[in-house]
Symmetry: C2
Subunit: 205 residues, 2 copies
DNA sequence: TTGCATTATTGAACGATGTTTATTTGATTT
DNA sequence: AAATCAAATAAACATCGTTCAATAATGCAA
């Protein structure tokens, strides 16, 4: 029965079309300014159709949020070849920062906006696949660092969360436009210089 | 002329009434769920009147955002008596975290939401009074730490931003509900344990 | 091929939102 | 008492996410 399969394929087709349109508009204009009607206009369908493919706006943006995590993970895995765990950690941190600064809108969706979380709660999702993957990536590295004498007396999880928090804080103050507003003498490379100050401290053995 | 002065007083009175109502609703229900109509209902006036006292919703929430910074600054100034700058820094950090966890809704307004920033941009405000005050408070302490041999080779501003970013990251991952979603073995006191891990590193001299 | 059943899609509607405007109310001054 | 002026309102506008009955298009059986 090729018919049923074609049906499924066509159902998939429109779902993909909606998602592609949502991604384009979202990357260009951000979350608030990407409305269901905008997406519908863009694909030349009526607004109602979207609700046959997604439960609500949250589900659409949860899907885009997942894509973001796949891309971030790929970036952070690129320094996998660095043998020294502390060196690898710093390289991953730089990749993280670069990803956030290059993709501020999707980063906000991944780590700040409510939409994807709301969807997960409504869905009773037990795990945050994307976030967990990043956390595990860092934790594995932290464990190796601990074995080499770093982070003495601290648990791997608390240390991992601390490192993730620092990276997140560095970029999210920028993305929320706060860092631009702080009165500074040296505005040049603030985030990277701050990451250097962080790296200096990481080295305590 | 007592009349004109009474007029001014009454004008002030309604402005305060709007702000009080906005604060109550906002603290109870958050930003999105505090609408102009809700505020108007609450003070038993028509929605339009609010626009005679505030330019838009952003201005109201900018005012509440300023109040938050006054309270945060007061909290962070309480360990001023601690002579050792590194000890004082850690105490200020704890106060910062405690403030954010105790007042998550206003914290989000202060450091994440667009509304107050939008108002400042529209207003061509040259300085971010609240944020600057917190930054200066930390920077002064960082300078003293540097004189004692900490943060070798790093600038005060980059180091201050790094510390602020870590504090902000620790609490904002919690407030944006991300930390709850991470798969952890030890969920107890995650934020405080992570702050301990951070403190351990700060001590590098 | 025709008729029926099923599915896909639409368009209008609902109750919200922030904001603007002309109009009315009410108090103060002449 | 009449004229003036500011305060306050009610209604409207353009949005938003979402729902639902009605319609169009399709697949299947006779």
């Amino acid at each position: 029965m090729g018919v049923a399969e074609r049906k499924i394929r066509e159902k998939e087709r429109l779902r993909t079309l909606i998602l592609d349109s949502a991604r384009t508009l979202f990357f260009r204009y951000g979350y608030e300014k990407t409305s269901i009607r905008n997406i519908a206009d863009n694909i030349e369908y009526s607004p109602g159709i979207i609700y046959h493919y997604f439960r609500d706006k949250n589900e659409i943006f949860h899907a885009l949020h997942n894509e973001g995590f796949i891309n971030l993970k790929a970036e952070m895995e690129s320094p996998a070849a660095i043998a020294d765990p502390m060196g690898r950690m710093k390289a991953m941190g730089k990749k993280y920062i670069q990803f956030a600064l290059d993709n501020p809108i999707v980063y906000e969706l991944m780590f700040t906006l409510e939409a994807p979380v709301e969807h997960m709660i409504q869905d009773k999702a037990q795990t945050w696949t994307g976030g967990d993957a990043i956390f595990e990536l860092l934790k594995k590295c932290v464990r190796e660092c601990i074995m080499m004498g770093y982070f003495r007396g601290q648990t791997a999880e608390a240390t991992t969360y601390m490192i993730l928090a620092t990276l997140h804080g560095l970029v999210s103050l920028k993305i929320s436009k706060r860092s631009n507003l702080i009165n500074l003498n040296e505005k040049e490379n603030l985030i990277m210089n701050s990451f250097m100050a962080f790296s200096y401290m990481l080295d305590r053995q």
